[in-house]
Structures are given as structure tokens and as C-alpha cells.
Amino acid sequence: MNSRARRSARVWLNLALLVMIVGGIFPAVWLVLTSLKLDGELVRQPITYLPDKPTLRNYLEVFEANPFARFLLNSVVVSLSSTLICVLFASLAGYALARLRLPARRTIMTSIVMTSMFPALVLLVPLYRLFVGVELPGLGGLATPNLLNSYWALIIPYVALSLPIATLILTSFFQLIPKDLEAAAMVDGSSRTGALFRIVAPLSAPGIVTAGIIVFVNSWNEFLLAFTFNTTMNMRTVPVGIILYQGEFSFEWSIISAALTLGIVPLVVLIIFFQQRIISGLTAGGVKG
């Protein structure tokens, strides 16, 4: 093939890539630009792209109008704890499914995958009732505690909602670790649990990080359950909190943009530092599915 044709193809491909990058990032960039403008500038015709007088006032207002710092804290607590619990459960299950000769391995795997298809919407009413507190049968009026408006009301469902994908990722990851390493440790006198903690756990760290990021993103993004279960101002997460800014101001877009920008920052940081991990995790979960 002649080199000039190849070079022009290269230029075109790079141009197309550039279009894709602009398409993917522009809405977020526009958000940041909007958040830096004063309200007066937003309602001017024709619209301006770069802010005339960049200001951080909208960010201050985000924190003044609602307890946004508290929303952030809630989101961090809920997402981090559900990530930790979910990854712990999923790595235990994933190890069992990948390594042990279990009688119903395939059936268990299938039913775990099946639950990932349950719509969160279907869980709404039953979980609400469960979290209000139900009397345990046969225990003389002993009831479960009311979990609504607490972190547990979100952590518990988030763990369950992300368990299937995390289990899939970790199962396929454990299958990649050579079995001989473990066998060697056991020959050298280590017990099976010993081999698990000394050999398998360190080697599976990348898989655990991958699964953790995906669970974290899922939990950070969940809206419906958080919107329904935690209704007091102090227990709202970021996505629910941001919805509140809608309609609270006459022309709310500058403040919403600032709030959205703040909510996206943690995700952007994760993407930039872990992009390869995330891609490998998503594809392991998807293709092995």
C-alpha cells in the first residue's frame, strides 16, 4: 500500500477520534463553563461560550442553599462502605466458584447472573416495607429496626445490586491465577485458608480494585432507591440532592451546573487514574457473562 494513502487515512482517523472526544467530553465541559457564569450571562442572546467574568459564586451558593457538603459525605460513606462489603462478599463467592469443585457450581453461577437482571424498581416497595421494620415471625413481637433514613437503607441494596457483576469479574479473575501456586503452598505445609490469604489474595489485588471501582461507580450513581428511602435532608446522597436544586431557583441552571460539576469530579478522577482497570473489568463482566 502506498504511504501517502496510509498517511491520509491516519489523518482522517485522528480527526474522527477528535470528533469522538469532543462529543464525549463537550457536555461536561459545557457544564463547567456554565457553572462559572453569572446568571445574567446565562440569559443573554446570543449565548456566550466562554464566561465573560468567571466567578466561583455558584459553587458557594451550592453549599449555602442546601447542605451539599453533607450530601457529598453521605455519598462517600454509602458508596465506600457498599464497595467494601460487596467486594468482600463477591471475592469470597468468586473464589468458591472459580476454584472449588462444587456440586451445583453452574446453577449457582446462573442464578447469581439472573439476579443482576432484576430491576431496582421492582425492589422498591418490598424493600421499603422491609426497612420500615417487620415483625419476625414466632419471636413474640420482636421486629427488625427501622432502617429508613440511615446509611444501611442504601448500603444493603447497593451491595446486592452490584454483587452479580462483582462476582462475575472476580470469578473470571480468580480463574486466571494459576492453580499450581496454591497447590505448591499447600504442599509446603500451608493450609488451604493460609494459601488463600498468602498467595491468592495478593495476586488478585488488581481484580479486586477493578471490581471495587465498578461497584463504587454503580453506588455513587444510584438514584431511585436513595430518592425513596432517605428523605430527610441530612441523609440525601448527591444525585438526590441535586434534583432538589431544580425548581428551587427561578433560573437554576448555573447553580445546578456547579452542583453537577462537584458531583462528577470524583468520577473523573477515577476514570483518569484507572481507565485501563475499568475497561478490563467491564469487559470481563460483560463477555464472560
Binding site: R101, P157, Q246
Partner: protein, 391 residues
């Protein structure tokens, strides 16, 4: 190992379980049970129990605003009310779209059946079959004064189907080129992948709000760009003047444009997921196939058509099913953009379930959830069958 001691305690299901646990030498079965217990227990309490409860509720008539009625058993009455009533408030134009869709899907389906390609592994074939079935169901029902039930249900069902069809097709049309581009060796590759991951990681509610601002009719970017490129004048002469405001299309306050805007938003959000799954498929294709094809003199288009596409089929299958499932459950984006409006034009099945719950009609919302769940389950079963017959 002390076997004699183990066999003495025969009343235990697992002889010597605690002893083996202490010494860290459990059998595979015991260890497996122990390791799987937390995950399976969580799934049972948080996923399985609610689904069973919803099934129970759907055949009971519980309404929180009529607590004196309790929750009597009413059998399939909720479903009858939903599917089999007498008030129908649809415009014929709505039916026409479904008829056209069903009829348009028939010839390719016929072609697939004739070629004997409607076997277990044929995604496109099955999708076409589903489109035909739903198209006929939606397009040829008795219509006004006919015997179809809850008009609001059918409205939400049809908008959900519209979103499934448009957004799934759209996200594949966008996702495949994106995946091909992300696989190109280029100095921009890193940034390209960030751009690919950003829509995936963005919360759906955020995406909805963000695009609501982009589509804002007076000060939004979309109308501004249309204005600057001169397309606004063209649009003004083409579309119904009802859809036009003083500064271009009224994106979110008119039914047709709102459907379009929401679909564009969903496509932006989800095509990156499709692209990521397809990217994995692309990377697993053996490069030597391309070398061989090149030696045989195949051009780029032929290589794409004869190697890339067939080898991508498993990844396409996975992405297709996941996308369809999430499209069935569409809730956050229409909620954030228009709260299901204008009117009820964007009230998807998910939003309708939610609105019924907030209106305290527990029994009916459960019946609606069952429909939602049955749809997801059908697709899941189909998907699992597919994956496992592949191996």
C-alpha cells in the same frame, strides 16, 4: 486426620465441620458453602424476597388510601384491569407507527426464517421476531372503544418500546464506530478512552439534567448551534410550527421533540457502554486473520465485513441484551429531564410504576412491576441460553 472421631458424630450433616474449620482444612463442599453464604444470603434477602413479595402483592388489591379494605385476594384482577378494559385514548397516528414498524420487520424476518438462521444463536432474527410481535400487538389492537385496558399502561408500554427500539439501535449505530475508533493506534487514544468512559460513569440523573440544559429552548447549546449553522431556518420551514418557539425547537415541552431529545440523551449515555463491550470483542480478534486477509488481497471494507463483524458477534450479543434490559427499565433520564412530561408522553413503564407507588396503589404497582419483571426475565433467559449454547 482423625477419621475415627469424625465418623462417630454421625448426627452432624458435615462430620467434623467445626474441627476442620479450626484447623483450616475444610472439604471443597464445606468451604464453598461457607464462602458463598454471605453473597447468596444477601441476594436472597434483598433480591429474591422482594420479587416474591411483589408476586404476592400483584394478586392482592392493596391500596394505601383505602386501608379499610386491607389486602384482599383478587386473583388476576389487576392484570385484567391493565390489559383488558374499555377506555382507549389513543390517536390513530400512534398506531400507524407500530403498524409500519411491524410490517417493516416482516420481510427481513421472513428472509431469516427462509435462510434457516432463526436458530438459538441468531440475535438479529429474534429481535426482529420480537419487533413483529410487539408491533402487531400495539398497532393492530382494536383501537378506540376497543377492549384494551388501562390507557395509561398502554401509553407507558408503547413509549418504553419506542425508547427500546430507538435507543438500542441508536447506541449500536454510535457504539460500533466508537469502538473501532478507540482501538485505533493514535496519540489521542488515551484521551479517547477517557471520553468513552465519561458517559458510562456519569450518573443517569446527572446526564438527564445536563442534557435538559443543553436542550433548553432559549439558552441551550443545541438550539444555538442549529441557529449558527443555519439549520434553524431549514427546520422552521420543515416542521410543524407548533414545535417552534421564538428561538428554535421547543425541545422539552413538545411531545415529539421531547421523545427525540430523551432518546438522544440515552444514546449519548449508553453508546459508550456498547463501545466498551465491543472494544473487548475487537481486542480478542486474532490479528493474524487480518494479515492473512491482507495477503489474499482483501480491502479494508472486506476485512471489516468478513472478519470483524462475524468475530464480533458474541460481544454484540452481550451488549444487545444488556442494553435492551436497561432500556426496559428506563427511569432516571426521563425523570430528570421532564418528569415524564410533557403530559404523559414520556411516562415510561418504570415511571408509571413509580407514579403508581407514590399514588399509594400498592397492588396495581406490583402488577405493573410483574409485567416489567416478566419482560426483563424473558430477555435474560434468552440471553443465558445464548451464552451457554455458545460454549
Amino acid at each position: 486426620m482423625d477419621i475415627s472421631k469424625d465418623t462417630r458424630s454421625t448426627h452432624r450433616q458435615y462430620p467434623g465441620f467445626w474441627k476442620r474449620l479450626r484447623s483450616g482444612n475444610l472439604t471443597d463442599r464445606q468451604l464453598g458453602f461457607l464462602l458463598l453464604a454471605p453473597a447468596l444470603l444477601t441476594l436472597a434477602v434483598v433480591m429474591l424476597y422482594p420479587v416474591l413479595t411483589v408476586l404476592w402483592q400483584s394478586i392482592h388489591g392493596e391500596h394505601l388510601l383505602r386501608p379499610w379494605l386491607g389486602s384482599p385476594f383478587i386473583g388476576l384482577d389487576n392484570f385484567r384491569k391493565m390489559l383488558w378494559g374499555r377506555n382507549m385514548i389513543w390517536s390513530p397516528g400512534h398506531l400507524l407507527a407500530w403498524r409500519i414498524l411491524a410490517l417493516a420487520a416482516l420481510p427481513p424476518l421472513w428472509w431469516f426464517v427462509r435462510r434457516g438462521r432463526i436458530g438459538r444463536g441468531s440475535a438479529v432474527g429474534w429481535t426482529l421476531a420480537i419487533i413483529v410481535i410487539f408491533g402487531i400487538l400495539m398497532g393492530f389492537h382494536p383501537g378506540e372503544g376497543g377492549r384494551w385496558g388501562d390507557a395509561r399502561f398502554w401509553n407507558s408500554f408503547s413509549i418504553t418500546l419506542v425508547i427500546i427500539v430507538i435507543s438500542v439501535i441508536g447506541s449500536f449505530a454510535m457504539g460500533l464506530p466508537l469502538a473501532l475508533l478507540a482501538n485505533v493506534d493514535s496519540p489521542l487514544r488515551w484521551l479517547g478512552r477517557v471520553a468513552l468512559l465519561l458517559p458510562w460513569a456519569m450518573p443517569r440523573v446527572f446526564t438527564g439534567l445536563m442534557f435538559a440544559w443543553l436542550f433548553q429552548s432559549d439558552y441551550g447549546v443545541v438550539n444555538d448551534l442549529l441557529q449558527r449553522t443555519g439549520l434553524n431556518g431549514l427546520l422552521g420551514s420543515l416542521v410543524d410550527p407548533q414545535l417552534l418557539g421564538s428561538r428554535g425547537l421547543l425541545w422539552l415541552s413538545r411531545a415529539q421533540t421531547a421523545v427525540l431529545a430523551v432518546n438522544i440523551t440515552i444514546i449519548w449515555k449508553t453508546s459508550s457502554f456498547v463501545a466498551l463491550i465491543l472494544l473487548a470483542g475487537l481486542q480478542s480478534i486474532d490479528q493474524s486473520l487480518y494479515e492473512a486477509a491482507r495477503v489474499d488481497g482483501a480491502n479494508a471494507w472486506q476485512r471489516f465485513w468478513c472478519i470483524t463483524l462475524p468475530m464480533l458477534q458474541p460481544a454484540v450479543a452481550v451488549a444487545l441484551i444488556f442494553r435492551t434490559l436497561t432500556a426496559i427499565q428506563t427511569f432516571d433520564i426521563p425523570f430528570a429531564m421532564t418528569r415524564g412530561g410533557p403530559g404523559r408522553t414520556l411516562e415510561t413503564l418504570g415511571l408509571y410504576v413509580y407514579n403508581t407507588v407514590t399514588a399509594s396503589n400498592i397492588g396495581y404497582s406490583a402488577a405493573l412491576s410483574v409485567i416489567l419483571f416478566a419482560l426483563s426475565l424473558a430477555i435474560t433467559l434468552f440471553y443465558l441460553r445464548w451464552i451457554y449454547t455458545d460454549e
